[in-house]
């Protein structure tokens, strides 16, 4: 079964760090894509047969991340140096930061980072963090939460959005659209 791991990188990790690491490990570069309006800039390497490591720059949320896919020992062999060399925040750290951050700008960034590392199946701590963001008094933070919520394929999110819709006239249109998307078959 294929494995996947996402590293949400800290803001001070430049793409050059990934390039240097890949070069030092002898990973062949297999692709590169420029940013488009709806296309994220990315760069891909193949650490081993069947393993891909992709640097992704989400320009909409201002989040950089590395996605590793593959399986077996080669997967671990690819993930281990990345984990050691590139500064990153795990999901628990990001979820905790939602409770401590006060600046809207920081919370807006956190919304994007949480969406980047959301698990496939619903996680209650993660959902609670999203609930906090969706109910934040600053509309800009709520906007970011709605925008990034499109990245969650969780049916458990729909009742949260329904609740929020009852209280948030400013973003009613956006919330309705999101709810339709979540409830679509």
């Amino acid at each position: 079964m294929s494995q996947a791991e996402v590293f949400v990188l800290q803001d001070d990790v430049p793409r050059s760090a990934m390039r240097e690491l890949a070069a030092s490990l002898g990973w062949p570069r297999t692709g590169q894509t420029d940013r488009g309006h709806l296309v994220m800039a990315s760069e891909r390497w193949s650490p081993a047969e069947g393993i891909t490591a992709t640097w992704v720059e989400n320009h909409t949320s201002d989040v950089r991340s590395v996605h590793v896919e593959g399986d077996g020992e080669a997967f671990e062999a690819a993930v281990t140096p990345l984990r050691a060399a590139l500064g990153h925040d795990d999901a628990a750290t990001l979820i905790a930061a939602v409770d401590t951050a006060t600046e809207p700008s920081a919370l807006i960034r956190l919304a994007g980072k949480l969406a980047t590392c959301r698990p496939l199946e619903c996680n209650e701590d993660h959902l609670q963090a999203l609930r906090v963001l969706l109910g934040h008094p600053e509309v800009a933070v709520r906007r970011a939460a709605v925008r990034t919520a499109y990245n969650y394929p969780w049916s458990e999110l729909a009742p949260v959005i329904e609740t929020q819709l009852a209280d948030d006239a400013a973003l009613a249109t956006q919330l309705k659209h999101l709810l339709q998307r979540l409830q679509a078959p």
Binding site: D11, P14, R15, R29, T30, G31, Q32, T33, D34, R35, G36, H37, L38, V39, M40, A41, S42, R44, T54, V56, E57, N58, H59, T60, S61, D62, R64, P104, S105, I108, R109, A111, G112, E138, V139, A140, V141, R143, A144, R147, T173, Q174
Partner: protein
């Protein structure tokens, strides 16, 4: 089984033991069949050298092929000399009743059947083609008559063939190819006066037909007219010098070969006297000797010039750099620098060089500094200014090491191009490029910039738009009928842009095979991006930077530099230094727009915008909003909406966020949807 028919014919011919009738048949099998070739070409479409891939795709198709696909596959098999499978596909296409080109299907069947000796079946297929052409009009009566003539000839009845060829020409006399065919047939029948008349017709219709010229010379020789034969040989060799050896051995010219006017044309040129080089320095004789050794000669077939040719090329290069070769854009300073370096250098030889996509060959020139401290220089083509020549040491090993980098032409895809250089080249209509009509500089937008690079000798002329991540052109476009028109049509298609991408036109760098992309941002800002493999020859770029105060990366290939000549090339780092130094909000706003264009695909730039998004001047903050909107930096806009002190600007930001950030404007003709793996990744 069909190939089995040909194999003994080839063997017999090579053994030179075929009886006369079989020899004639073999000649007929190779006789020009212009309409057949034209039909094959038309069905094939634009040949991009990918027959094998197309054939593979059609052969592995799970679903039933349509009549059109059977026709296409038959053509691909024919081009691969697999006449048996080709006939099977044509039979299938005929059985399915090709809706628009049934006469072509039967015509191709007829020709292939005739080629494999099934004359009766071929005649029936031509009858079927004639019936089908009543409705689809794909094969004219004249071409059908010509095809019947070819069948008669292939069946060993040349007199009957001549009657039919003549009949075809009476129906339509505007085909140079069929007149040439008649000329060839008349020569076969020893009717040389008639051959001359037919070939005169052919050459009147197509004056550059070197094959008709050769046939004319053969007919003239048979008529005892060696001076006329020599005249046509000279014209044919002028167009196709490579034919000299074959013509020297052509048996039908034997009667005139010793005539002075003919022998003068067919004599091989004497080898150039290259001993003059040995007096230039102490090491040139050793260089000549070493480059003649097998280990070097097999890598790069360097040929040395005689002194007169060397001086002629040098003089031509000096002249070319009075104003700059066509398609280049020099300043007075770069022309002066080019001449200053060129004048003392001595041209000594050339390597094979490469061809561009369209097949035009360009020699790679080898030069040297005279005197005891001089060295070799490699000009990747004669159009490179001397300051972009690459130093190549003094011996065969160092010369080959330079040539190895560029010849044979390296194959590179986007993933291989690990380095990038981006620069701001100017604003719309403030950029200038040379007018092809007057040679004077004129203001430029997308169209004029694109036209400039179509003529520029440092890039391939055919480009592609942002809808294509990688070069969609083959390295070599095979020679084929109507190739210019086909390239132009494909060029229009490939110029299209992907929605949401920055408008761009990319081209291959001519020798290093990197990509040069011109991008348009914010409506009127143009940037250039070079994707490249680092050059191992930093010397020319370093010297140019030192001379002109430019800051091109030293590992930039020289063809990239040649392509960028005449444009400014401001780096983001230089502009950011100016941004830090200015107190003027308007200047800052202008610089931010240009920097955003240069760094649009660089996430690290968002920190810069966050810093400037709190600037005191509303015009600067509005500029950051413009950047964020244009490039879909939505979280930046959200952050600004929370902090923006100006109520009106804040309302505008929120309105944009409510509506959703619009895609950048593109003209409808610029848009094409090409799904890519990258989009899936994103």
């Amino acid at each position: 089984m069909w190939n089995a028919v040909y194999t003994p014919l080839r063997d017999l011919e090579q053994a030179n033991s075929a009886p006369a009738w079989l020899a004639a048949l073999i000649r007929c099998l190779r006789m020009d069949d212009p309409f057949f070739e034209a039909t094959i070409s038309a069905v094939r479409g634009f040949d991009l050298g990918d027959d094998a891939e197309m054939l593979d795709a059609l052969a592995n198709r799970q679903s039933e092929l349509s009549a059109d696909e059977h026709l296409l596959r038959s053509v691909l098999y024919t081009r691969a000399s697999q006449d048996g499978p080709a006939l099977e596909d044509l039979d299938r296409a005929a059985a399915l009743g090709h809706p628009t080109a049934l006469s072509q299907v039967h015509y191709l069947r007829a020709r292939l059947l005739s080629r494999v000796g099934r004359t009766a079946a071929s005649g029936e297929a031509l009858d079927a083609a004639e019936r089908a052409s009543q409705s689809d009009r794909r094969v004219s009566e004249a071409e059908l008559a010509h095809a019947r003539a070819l069948s008669e000839w292939e069946a060993g009845r040349p007199d009957d063939a001549l009657v039919l060829v003549t009949h075809g020409l009476s129906l339509d006399d505007a085909s140079a190819d069929r007149w040439r065919g008649k000329g060839a047939l008349c020569i076969e029948l020893a009717r040389h006066d008639d051959a001359v008349v037919a070939l005169d017709h052919a050459l009147a219709l197509q004056s550059d037909d070197d094959e008709a010229m050769v046939l004319h010379a053969i007919a003239d020789a048979a008529n005892g007219n060696p001076d006329e034969a020599a005249r046509w040989i000279e014209r044919a060799l002028h167009l196709s010098p490579h034919r000299r050896e074959a013509l020297a051995g052509e048996p039908r010219l034997a009667s005139v070969r010793q005539h002075p006017s003919v022998s003068r044309q067919l004599e091989p040129s004497p080898p150039p006297d290259t001993t003059w080089m040995d007096s230039l320095t102490s090491w040139t004789a050793a260089l000549r000797y070493a480059m003649g050794r097998p280990e070097h000669r097999t890598r790069h077939a360097v040929q040395w010039f005689d002194e007169a040719e060397a001086r002629r090329i040098h003089a031509q290069m000096v002249t070319d750099h009075e104003r700059g070769p066509l398609g280049t854009m020099h300043s007075a300073a770069t022309l002066e620098y080019a001449r200053e370096l060129l004048e003392p250098r001595v041209i000594i030889g050339h390597a094979a060089g490469t061809s561009n996509r369209e097949g035009a060959k360009e020699r790679c020139i080898i030069a040297m500094d005279p005197g005891p401290h001089g060295e070799l220089w490699v000009a990747l083509s004669e159009l490179y200014p001397s300051f972009l020549w690459i130093p190549a040491g003094r011996d065969a090993a160092s010369l080959c090491a330079v040539l190895d980098v560029y010849f044979p032409r390296p194959t590179r895809r986007r993933a291989d191009l690990t380095s990038q250089a981006r620069g701001f080249i100017g604003y719309r209509e403030r950029i200038v490029v040379p007018s092809p009509r007057t040679g004077c500089l004129e203001p430029a937008g997308e169209v004029e910039i694109d036209r400039h690079f179509t003529l520029n000798p440092f890039v391939e002329s055919a480009g592609w738009g942002s809808a294509f991540a990688d070069d969609p052109w083959p390295d070599d476009i095979p020679s084929q009928p109507r190739v210019v028109l086909k390239i132009e049509r494909r060029r229009e298609k490939l110029a299209e842009q992907a929605p949401g991408s920055v408008w761009s036109m990319s081209r291959r760098l001519r020798h290093s095979r990197g990509y040069l992309a011109i991008e348009r941002h914010h409506g009127d800002i143009f940037t250039a991006m070079v994707r490249y493999s680092p050059s191992p020859h930093p010397g020319p770029v370093a010297a140019m930077n030192a001379r002109f105060g430019t800051e091109y990366p030293q590992d930039l290939p020289v063809d990239a530099l040649g392509a960028l000549l005449g444009f400014q090339f401001d780096h983001a780092t230089d502009l950011e230094a100016k941004l830090d130094a200015t107190d003027d909000p308007e200047i800052a706003a202008g610089l931010l727009l240009v920097i955003s264009a240069l760094r649009h695909s660089d996430l690290d730039a968002q920190q810069l915008y966050r810093t400037w998004s709190t600037h005191d001047a509303a015009s600067v903050r509005a500029t950051i909003c413009t950047i964020a909107t244009e490039y879909n930096y939505e979280s930046l806009l959200e952050t600004m909406s929370a902090a923006e002190p100006d109520a009106q600007l804040r309302a505008e930001i929120e309105a944009v966020l409510d509506e959703g950030l619009p895609m950048p404007d593109l003209l409808p003709s610029e848009v094409v949807r090409v799904p890519s793996q990258e989009e899936g990744d994103a």
